[in-house]
């Protein structure tokens, strides 16, 4: 111990006098703003604790030459002292085993300056932050700042106190955990209650019937004989039960989407039995779409539902790979870590589709939060929605930016029901050549004898039980190990390696290690060959002290499982060394029908593959639909709606997200053509992103997201149909064309569906409205089937998250049933993409599509505290006809701008289309039977606001006919004037409207506000 102390050094970097301490300043501001605490000045310092033998000169050289910036920093060695005028402190360290990229980078630098190899997998350097506060705050206040602003108790070790009492340091010492033993768990003769308790105690998340099936499997004579031969006891090992629990988790197995559902519609009296939502509404629907596509010479649908991501053909050379997932539970307890591992984990799906080695093209993200301005009492274990928003945003920033993947599109939805569990949807598009070294890239082939290689990060206790934990409702006892910490740099190295390994033909195939860790990745791949042998003692660990089952199910991040033919091991190992990616041979595939797991030669699991993958009992669930009682409200009519429009533009769900968008790199790779914000001002919101595939052709892809949870309060069918239509029309708005309109046109579409619903399994005590919730899910699926059929658009992959409830202090917060449709479509020539903003004065403004009396669930009603009844409905046939014509009009270059109508209806769309350059518009609303407010604010689907050059008006009107309503013209004066029945009903300066929109609550919350605008110099 004494010797160890001698090799421990502390390096402290403080800013030189006069250097701007932005970090300290932000802490002071945030404490004042969010916690109402006056810290006085705050001074930040970086600390590095080095546990490595260094002499004085080496330490000093390392500190001053590698860590300190000579212009910015003063260095102090081996002293932890305050500074004059500062009375209290907060020290933020990491808990044992938590990823410390900064420490690892410092180790890299140390190895370079010493010019000696240094095992970077063992943590020798620990980074920390020290904050000195001017004011003498009591310990409780310091703890609040520490826990609510600076760290997360699950991840960080936080020390606070008065400087005069001495600054307490903390350096983690990981390891020292359990010995590597495997325990046997007896199921024989356990009562139902005991089985359930066992499931709950171990976070297996298996229900009684499933536990019984497990018990029966081990009790079967055949199993017992097999186990005897394999050298295992009759009773299952802890490792075996864990493998089954991960494999059978809702997260991995989608048991509710595969269940038999007895559905009753109390409105119509209809009763039916649904044999799997997935099969009935998703898989079969896509099969039908594929049949129609192929019948018309469109054979671009390559891979659906059977791999980590869906794949469609771009052209004869390459595939587009698309995957969207959620990471809700982890983001609820650690927003930053949950989001960063969400995006990095989702990146691994396209990366490890087929053989693996796709090039990532872009990310998208859609986030649902509670009201960030919530000022009530939080439940035990519940994080404030603002904190979740800021943490998730930062996680996506680091996950995307540090990986070099542009975040090109997204959405943020606010609703108080997301205050318990936020929804964090992460999407990634990628491009893969059709072939790698002569083999079809999208195929996963494995033969007995192929080696199992773990690549990338090491295994620790982080993320144990993520798959099962996300399959149950969240409560105040969420386990710390369920938190996963991301390391984008580790994944970037692994990604670069995978790209080269695939192109050199060294990979047979690959998959990612996500939920369930090796247990799931090897278990799934072993299904291809028919078995596998894994030798767990070979798995490299972050620190000692993991039991075999923990190694097998840990969800430590940034790992891939690779399948390599024995003859290619030498070459791939050399490439791994060159690119500094750790590769470990942990076993091989077999064809004997068993998953064999061993530790130090002794068997720890021997499971029949068929039982593992097919043995889970099917659920039978009850669903009952009753139309919610709803009525249209009486809203007093007004003669001037300028104020209403202004309020809508500044409202939480409509206001600008610029502060979020700009902190994501949306144009790395240099291929983003339609960005989230466009125009000379850089403040015109766009409907979908357009990204070109490369620099040699103008082919590209458009991507959009449709999500409308509040409509689900009126009818989940219409909500789902509307969300699908929203995503489709956003693609149409940027110049996309519907698929399959002409034979062999090759215009691919690829959709991911992501359902996030509250617990929908009926239980008279704990979930009395479960049947209604499940009925909503059924209706959402029915709408999805109808939408895909109507537009002939296939689903290629998707995910469902079934337990989005947060329970604490006897209160349950459940998300509204939510579905996100993430839609991608080929753009033949990105130069013909359309942006939403007005382009020139005197262009003629049209409304395309039909407006109906559909204010139900609208933002206009929400402004008045009402829900209403008339939820917008989609007429797919009319929508398809309109979208087809818009595509034709754009082919002829007739469209100058196009913006889809959504939240806030026509009025909000009119305002937004002026934001790009500062134009105005003069608009005359037609005199129809619809009330004025309905014309202005109805959110009827399948509508667009579009402009046409004066010289193209005749051709455009001939083509669109009565689907286009001429409203007026674009003006240069920057005034928006809307008239109706001879009266001016909206009159506003568009710069003022833009300021309201820009200075709305989201930008305000994140500290970006401006009185005029945030644009760059070439505006106006």
């Amino acid at each position: 111990m004494a010797e160890l102390e001698n090799t421990t050094h502390t390096i402290q970097l403080t800013l030189k006098p006069g250097q701007h301490d932005g970090d300290g300043q932000r802490v002071a501001e945030a404490a004042a703003r969010h916690l109402g605490l006056a810290t006085g000045r705050v001074r930040s310092a970086a600390l590095y604790t080095v546990r490595y033998p260094l002499n004085e000169n080496q330490l000093s050289d390392f500190a001053t030459r590698c860590l300190a910036d000579p212009v910015l920093h003063d260095v102090r060695l081996n002293e932890l002292t305050g500074a004059e005028g500062y009375t209290t402190y907060i020290l933020v360290a990491r808990r044992p085993g938590v990823t410390d990229d900064e420490g690892t980078s410092a180790q890299n630098a140390l190895a370079d300056i010493l010019n000696e190899p240094l095992d970077v997998h063992t943590q020798h350097i620990f980074s920390k932050k020290l904050y000195l506060l001017e004011n003498d705050l009591p310990e409780t206040d310091l703890r609040r700042i520490a826990e609510e602003l600076l760290g997360n108790k699950l991840i960080n070790w936080l020390e606070v106190g008065r400087v005069a009492d001495g600054i307490r340091d903390y350096t983690p010492r990981p390891g020292g955990g359990a010995e590597a033993i495997t325990e046997v768990v007896s199921l024989t003769g356990l009562s139902d209650a005991a089985l359930l308790q066992l499931s709950k105690d171990n976070i297996y998340a298996l229900n009684l019937e499933e536990m019984r099936a497990v018990r029966d499997y081990f009790a079967a004579t055949e199993t017992q004989e097999e186990r005897k031969a394999a050298g295992l006891p009759t009773d299952p090992t802890d490792c075996e039960l864990e493998i089954i629990a991960q494999t059978w988790s809702e997260h991995c197995k989608h048991k509710e989407f595969a269940a038999v559902i007895n559905y009753k519609n109390t409105e119509t009296g209809e009763e039916k039995q649904i044999d799997s939502l997935f099969k009935t509404y998703i898989k079969n629907a896509t099969s039908e779409v594929d049949r129609q596509l192929r019948a018309n010479g469109n054979d671009w649908l390559i891979k659906v539902f059977s791999d980590n991501a869906g794949a469609v053909r771009i052209n004869s050379d390459s595939l587009f790979v698309w995957k969207v997932e959620t990471h809700n539970s982890p983001s609820a307890i650690d927003p930053y870590g949950g989001a960063i591992t969400g995006i990095l984990g989702n990146n691994r799906d396209p990366l490890a589709t087929g053989i693996g080695g796709a090039r990532l093209l872009f990310n998208t993200n859609v986030l649902c939060f509670g009201n960030p301005e919530f000022d009530g009492q939080l439940l035990t274990g519940q994080l404030h929605p603002r904190r979740i928003l800021e943490g998730v945003r930062k996680g996506i920033e680091d996950g995307g930016n540090k990986s070099g993947v542009p975040t090109v599109n997204g959405a943020i939805v606010f609703d108080d029901r997301y205050a318990g569990k936020p929804l964090v949807y992460c999407g990634t598009g990628a491009v893969m050549p059709m072939q790698f070294a002569g083999l079809d890239s999208w195929e996963k082939k494995i033969d007995a004898g192929d080696r199992i290689i773990m690549a990338g990060g090491r295994v620790g206790k982080d993320g144990i039980h993520g798959a099962t934990f996300s399959s149950i409702e969240l409560d105040e006892t969420a386990p710390a190990t369920a938190v996963q910490i991301g390391s984008p740099i580790t994944q970037k190295l692994a990604m670069d390696f995978l790209l080269l390994a695939a192109r050199r033909g060294l990979l047979k195939c690959s998959t990612d290690n996500g939920a369930g860790g090796l247990s799931s990745s090897v278990g799934e791949l072993a299904g291809i060959s028919g078995g596998a042998v894994v030798e767990l003692e070979r798995v490299p660990l972050k620190y000692p002290g993991l039991r075999p089952w923990e190694i097998f199910v840990s969800e430590s991040q940034e790992r891939f499982t690779l399948v390599v033919e024995p003859g290619k091991m030498a070459e791939i190992t050399a490439l791994g060394q060159e690119m500094e990616v750790e590769l470990t041979d942990i076993g091989y595939f077999t064809a004997d029908g068993f998953l064999d797991v061993r530790f130090d030669g002794a068997p720890v699991a021997h499971l029949n593959m068929e039982f593992l993958h097919e043995g889970v009992p099917r659920k039978i669930l009850e669903a009952e639909w009753a139309k919610p009682v709803a009525a249209e409200p009486e809203i007093p009519t007004a003669t001037d709606y300028t104020e209403t429009l202004t309020q809508l533009l500044g409202s939480l769900n409509i206001c600008s997200r610029e502060s979020v968008i700009r902190q994501y790199d949306h144009e790395v790779k240099g291929r983003t053509i339609v960005k989230p914000l466009m125009g000379a001002t850089g403040q015109a919101p766009q409907d979908a992103a357009v990204v070109r595939f490369n620099f040699e052709s103008w082919e590209g892809v458009a991507v959009s997201n449709g999500i409308l949870p509040r409509y689900g309060d009126l009818d989940a069918y219409d909500m789902s149909a509307g969300s699908f239509d929203e995503a489709v029309r956003q693609i149409i708005a940027v110049g996309g064309k519907l698929p399959n309109l002409t034979p062999g046109d090759g215009i691919f579409w690829s959709v991911n569906d992501n359902f996030c619903v509250p617990d929908s399994v009926y239980d008279p005590a704990s979930n009395p409205d479960g049947k209604q919730k499940l009925a909503k899910l059924v209706r959402m699926c029915e709408a999805l089937r109808d939408a895909t059929a109507a537009y002939c658009i296939p689903l290629t992959s998707g995910k469902d998250s079934m337990k989005n409830d947060f329970k604490a202090d006897g209160v349950k917060i459940s998300v509204p049933p939510t579905v996100l449709y993430s839609v991608t479509a080929k753009i033949e020539d990105v130069r013909r993409a359309i942006t939403s903003d007005f382009k020139q004065a005197d262009d003629v403004v049209y409304l395309l599509g039909e407006t109906h009396d559909e204010l139900g669930g609208s933002e206009f009603y929400a402004l008045h505290g009402q829900l209403g009844a008339n939820v917008p409905k989609v007429d797919f046939a009319k929508a398809k006809a309109l979208y087809t014509l818009i595509g034709q009009a754009n082919d002829q270059g007739l469209i100058q701008s196009c913006h889809d109508l959504s939240d806030g209806g026509l009025a909000v769309a009119l305002a937004e289309t002026t934001f790009g350059y500062g134009y105005g518009a003069v608009v005359e609303l037609p005199e129809t039977s619809l009330p004025l407010a309905t014309q202005l604010f109805s959110e009827s689907h399948s509508r667009f606001l579009t402009t046409v050059a004066p010289e193209d008006v005749v051709a455009f009107e001939q083509m669109l006919g009565d689907r286009a309503t001429r409203l007026g013209r674009v003006t240069a004066d920057g005034e928006l004037t809307v008239r109706h029945a001879g009266k001016t009903v909206i009159s506003a300066n568009t710069a003022a409207l833009r300021a309201v929109w820009t200075n709305g609550p989201v930008n305000h919350l994140l500290g970006v506000v401006s009185n005029d605008n945030l644009s760059h110099s070439n505006s106006l």
Partner: protein, 311 residues
Amino acid sequence: MVQDSAQGAHKVQSEAQTDAANVDGTVRALILTGFGINCEEEFAAAYRLAGAEATIVHLNQVLYGQVSIHDFDVLNFPGGFSFGDDLGSGVVLANKLRYRQTSADGRTLLDDIKQFIANGKFVLGICNGFQVLVKLGLLPNMGGDVTPEVTLTHNASGRYEDRWVTLRVNPASRTPFLKGIDKLEVPVRHGEGRLVVPDDATRAAIEAAGLNCLSYIDANGDGTSEYPLNPNGADLNCAGLTDPTGQVFGLMPHPEAFLAAYNHPDWARRRRQNPQATEEGEGLQIFKNIVAHIAQKHTTAAPAVQLANQH
């Protein structure tokens, strides 16, 4: 063609050019990647579009001697987050180039880069690459001894931001990279782009030599410290630096992200105004400039390149 073009650019050592020097007159650009660098593909595309041959190489292939920088005309450090930027942008990579010995005689890659520059060749760093050059002391390198004289650190806003800015080229700048360019619109995408000059004397020296080659400007064309026109609060409103020879050039914004007119946020309106305008992005000119400059050197003074090796 989607994948192959990029793949073609990613030549590995075995495929990389190993000919001694440009006998065929081709301009050869070496683009480093690995360890978190992430703008190498568009960087390579920029050189290809400018008529050069672009080779992307993993840093370790250079450090381990499998690829020699001396086989190339211009050495490029792309943007990204090298080593996660955990110790400050570019710090760990700069440290590696300065200290990691690449041969038994204690030679480092920085030694090679110094020789490369002495040979009359060119070095370009963008964003994270600029940060590396500054932290290495290659920019501005007024003392000529590769000692860091300035630094780049956290934006005054405290935030990473992606936004477009307008730059003006310092007329006093003599670097061939910026020849003939007056103004330039480009995106910035960084969290640590604020140039900090430690004292007035250094500031004056930089200005006197015209090394502050690019400034953030306002609508009137004047250098500005006003956010967000100056997105990071840089000293001297400075977005880029050269060394006194003009051979080493670095900038925070991303010209390689503006290779096509359609990268600009206002492209659709601008093309409406002027449908015949070039489809090239303004950022490409920097690459065309240096490629043309080197090509001209190749044709007029090929033997001199060899003689210039005074190291």
